[in-house]
Structures are given as C-alpha cells and as structure tokens.
C-alpha cells in the first residue's frame, strides 16, 4: 500500500513541472489576453489605474483603416505564398523521389535554407533586393535594355511579392520533406498497376500520386497558411511594415501597438482576433477538404 502511494506521489512530481510551465506560460497568458482586451492597460503602469472599457478596443480596432490594411496584407501574403511554396515543395519532392544520381547530395542542398535563421535569409535577400546593382536588377536591366532599376523593397507594388519569394525560399524544405515522406508512403504496386494500364507520367501523377497525397496536402495547407499568417520577422527586419503600410501584417501591427506604443489593452484585442482567425482557418480548411473528399 505504501509503495502505491509513493508511486502516485512520484508520478505527480514527474507530471508537475511540465503542467506548471504550460499553465503559467500558455494558459494564464491566454486568459489574460482575453481579459486585457477589455481594458485600457498600458505596458508600463501609469498613475491612473487600468480601467475596464468594455468593447471599446474592438470598436476602435474595427474603425482603424491600418488594421484592415494589415488584415488585407496578411491575407494577400498567405494567398500568394501558400500555393507558390507548396508548388515548389511538391515539385522538388517529386524530383527527389525519382532514382536520381547524387540524390543524397541534392536532398542535402535543398534542405540548407531551412537551417538558416530567418534573419540570415532576410540579410541575404536584402543584398539581392536593396543593392541597385543586385543580381535581380542586372537581369531586369539586361532585358529592359536600360539603366533604370527596381527598388524592390522601397516600392509598394513589389515589396509584398519580394517578401513572398524570400519566405518561400526560406521555408520550402520543410514542406518538401513532408511531401517526400508522403510520396514514400504511396505503395509502389499502385504505380505498377497504373503502368500496366498504360498510364503516362502525368496520368500516374493525377490518378495515383495526387490522391495518395490527400492527407499530406490537408496537413500542409493548414500549417503553411498558419505559418503565413504569422509573418513578422521578415517584415520587422526588412520593410518595417512599409512602404506606406504595404507590408504591415497583423502581427507587425500587434507589435507596433502593444510594444512600440505600449497600448497593451488595445493590442490584446488584436491578439484575440488573430487567435480566432488562426483557429477558424484551421477548422474551415478541415471542413472544406473533408467534404471534398467525400463527394
């Protein structure tokens, strides 16, 4: 009997640290975030005590054109980067899944960008984008036949696309490796059967590979979209939300409001909206893809 109670105590002690840290650093801040969004809390305490302000923060938030611009920019970024990045990841995975000479070397090289911290990737692409004589401008000048150059980061029409290309380059290996795992799970005899039926390479992709990747696609669509919605580091280092707010994202807006100008209450409303957006997109994609699969 005493061993049994000692046993229980041991188990509780082993479970406690993880639960305490999860509670203090995730559960408590989560509810604080919701609570703070109904107050006028500042980051640095003021002489005037914090007040409950009801839905004022949400009302002001929905009236702020910059917030809607941030929402629009974030949606635009996700709409561009998700298909672009998944297309690259799947293409590279398909190539690396063939019997290729030097396959190990090619696979190792394609993983390199994932190893670089985002800040390093931003620095490298800053050289490409910001130096007027950079490689992209050299190509542009060659084809345009002029001395004019594009200020990729400085002009609002190209800044977002520049971030899309940079971000896809930085993180495509993750999705590529998961596609590769998915491709290896498709049974080889399905391809043999398709080949016997006279299916060409495109038909084999369409009728064997693509349906076989269904679950992988759902998973990657969700995580890549959520990853895109969190866009911050690239913006914070490279564009600072500019030019003219063209690359201000939701998280960058949250950072500006809550940290730079210290309006924690107001920015908490942004955090709550962001949380709801992430959760509902994950649910929405699951529902849509589920229905599609059943018809």
């Amino acid at each position: 009997m005493s061993t049994k109670s000692r046993d229980k105590r041991q188990q509780m002690l082993m479970l406690a640290p993880a639960l305490i840290f999860l509670g203090l650093l995730i559960v408590v801040p989560f509810f604080m975030s919701i609570g703070l969004s109904f107050t006028d809390q500042r980051l640095v305490p003021r002489p005037i005590p914090t007040r409950f302000v009801g839905f004022t923060n949400y009302e002001r938030l929905f009236d702020d054109p910059l917030f809607w611009k941030a929402v629009g920019n974030t949606a635009l970024f996700a709409a561009l980067v998700v298909p672009f990045q998944l297309f690259i990841s799947l293409s590279v995975a398909l190539v690396l899944n063939t019997a290729l000479p030097f396959r190990g070397m090619f696979r190792a090289i394609s993983v390199f960008p994932l190893l670089l911290p985002m800040s390093v990737v931003v620095a490298i692409w800053a050289v490409i984008y910001r130096i007027p004589t950079g490689p992209l401008n050299a190509i542009y000048q060659f084809f345009a036949g002029s001395e004019a150059y594009i200020d990729f980061i400085g002009s609002s029409s190209t800044a977002m696309v520049s971030l899309v290309v940079l971000s896809a380059w930085a993180t495509f290996p993750y999705q590529m490796l998961i596609y590769l795992a998915g491709l290896q799970d498709i049974p080889g005899d399905q391809y043999e059967a398709a080949q016997l039926d006279g299916a060409n390479a495109w038909q084999r992709f369409l009728y064997v590979t693509w349906p076989g990747l269904r679950n992988v696609n759902i998973f990657l669509l969700i995580i890549t979209t959520i990853q895109a919605l969190k866009l911050f580091t690239q913006v914070s280092i490279m564009t600072k939300g500019g030019p003219n707010g063209a690359t201000t994202t939701i998280i960058y807006y949250l950072f500006q409001q809550g940290y730079t100008t210290q309006k924690v209450g107001y920015a908490s409303a942004v955090a709550v909206i962001f949380f709801l957006a992430v959760v509902s997109i994950a649910l929405l994609q699951r529902i849509i893809l589920k229905n599609e699969g059943e018809t």
């Binding site: 188990q11 639960l19 995730i26 580091t233």
Partner: protein, 277 residues
C-alpha cells in the same frame, strides 16, 4: 535517355536556386571593399569570390559593441538550456501520461494538445507583462522560460512511450524499480530516436526565435544572434554589406556542419513530424 536526364536537370536548377544566394553570401563576406561589393554586384563576380580577405570577419568578431562570440554564446546558452529542460520535463510528463496510473490522464493529454492551437504570437503581450513584473527583462531566464513546456514534444514522447510493452515495465517493477526509475533506466535509454527528433524540431524554433527576444532584451549582453543581426537594419543607416554577410556566414556555418553530421536523423525528424499531424 531523356527519361532519366529530365529529373536531373530539375534537381540541378533547384540546387542552383538554393546555392546561388549562399554563394553570394560567402563572396560578399570575403570582399573587404564596400565600393567593390556594389560594383561587382550584377555580374558573375557577385557569386564567385575574387577577394579573399577576412577583414569583415575581423570586424564582426572584434566588434566592441556586440562581439560575435558573445552573441553566439548567448544563443548557445539559451538553446541548450531550453532543449535540456524541455527534454527532461516533457519526457517525464509524457511518461506519466502514457504509462502512469493517475486518473484524468486522457483529459490532461487532450488539454495539452489543445494548447497547440494557440499561436505563440497571441500570447507575447501578457507574457511580457509577467516578465516585467518578475523583473526578468534582459536575462537568459526570460528567453528560456517559454520553451520549457512544449506541447508538441509531450505529444511525440507520449506516442513513443505508449508503444513500450506493458510486460517490460511490469518486469522492471517486479525487479524493484520505482516508477521514476523505469522512466530513467528503461524508457529514456530506449527513446534516443524521439529525443533527437524532439531536440531537432525545437532547436529550429529556438534558434530562429525573434519576436520574443526582441521584446525582452534591451542591450547586447544577453541578446541572441537573430536580434543582433537585425540591429544592422536600423532605419536611415548605411548597411555594411560585407559585415552583414560575414555575420550571416558565421551564423550559418555551424548549423550546416551540424546538419551534415546529423543529416539522417534531421531529415527523419522533419519527415515524421508531418505524418502524425
């Protein structure tokens, strides 16, 4: 013939797409002359080194404001502390949830998995207020704390521990092992693949961390590499491209070497991280 060469061409294009920016990074980092860097841009000379000076490296390694070695040490301290505490606490908790006898294990596990839905970005403001109350701004501790309890790690450990045969655990208990000792001497030695998977996945997160360290560090003392890099990109200042690229190379090379040694485990960890999601 054509059937086998087409994938090779695509693989070559991919490798080039990855390698060209990296070659440019190395080339620029070896060029001591800022003027020459700008002039060489846009030609093949921006990808193949024609100068071999370590001046830029000397600049950043001997920078009195933020010496590179110090910043690298900060990142290493934060990363290693986070990973070791995370593996210790999360594996213990997962073992209790998978093989323990406490009630409510399933609901607790569900609750832990549910926290995965909360994006870390939506929690930073209350976390920052708590850190300020606790007087932890500008410390290593504040940068380690958010990564210690890691729901994804608990889940991965849980999956692995659930598959350990009950017989094995019962046999050890009959030999007089306590529950803790079973975790320590049986479960953990078996879990090397999960430990490396969990460590690699969380390493990528901590190594990349930016939003949180920007908020909780003020000066260069405890600042990690990612934040130090960003300090080159302040507004209205000329960016010393040679130094920035030397900084990038110094940051990238250790991880790439580590990856080349651990390649098999690394790729396996990332590949498996998706299937169960």
């Amino acid at each position: 013939m054509r059937r086998s060469s087409l994938p090779l061409v695509f693989a070559g294009i991919t490798a080039l797409g990855v390698m060209l920016p990296l070659m440019m990074m190395v080339t620029v980092s070896l060029n001591p002359d800022e003027q020459d860097i700008l002039i060489s841009m846009g030609s093949i000379k921006s990808f193949i080194p024609h100068e071999f000076s370590l001046k830029n490296y000397a600049d950043i390694w001997l920078d009195p404001q933020q010496p590179f070695a110090r910043t690298m040490m900060n990142t290493l301290i934060i990363t290693l502390s986070t990973l070791s505490l995370s593996i210790l606490f999360n594996s213990m908790a997962a073992f209790v949830l998978a093989q323990g006898t406490l009630g409510l294990r399933k609901p607790v596990l569900l609750l832990i998995v549910a926290t995965l839905a909360v994006p870390a970005e939506s929690l930073v403001l209350p976390q920052l207020m708590m850190a300020a109350w606790a007087g932890l701004i500008d410390t290593y501790t504040v940068q380690v704390l958010p990564g210690i309890a890691h729901a994804m790690s608990i889940f991965l450990f849980y999956q692995f521990f659930s598959r350990i045969p009950k017989d094995l655990i019962e046999a050890a208990r009959l030999d007089g092992f306590s529950f803790f000792q079973v975790w320590r001497y049986i479960a953990m030695p078996l879990s090397k693949p999960v430990i490396s998977a969990v460590a690699i996945l969380q390493f990528l997160e901590v190594w990349n961390a930016y939003l949180w360290p920007v908020m909780v560090t003020r000066g260069p003392e405890v600042r990690p590499l990612t934040v130090a890099m960003a300090s080159y990109f302040g507004t209205n200042q000329r960016i010393p491209w040679g130094d920035v690229m030397a900084f990038s190379v110094s940051m990238a090379v250790p991880v790439i070497i580590f990856f080349l040694i651990m390649q098999r485990q690394f790729i396996a960890s990332v590949m498996n991280s998706g299937v169960k999601g």
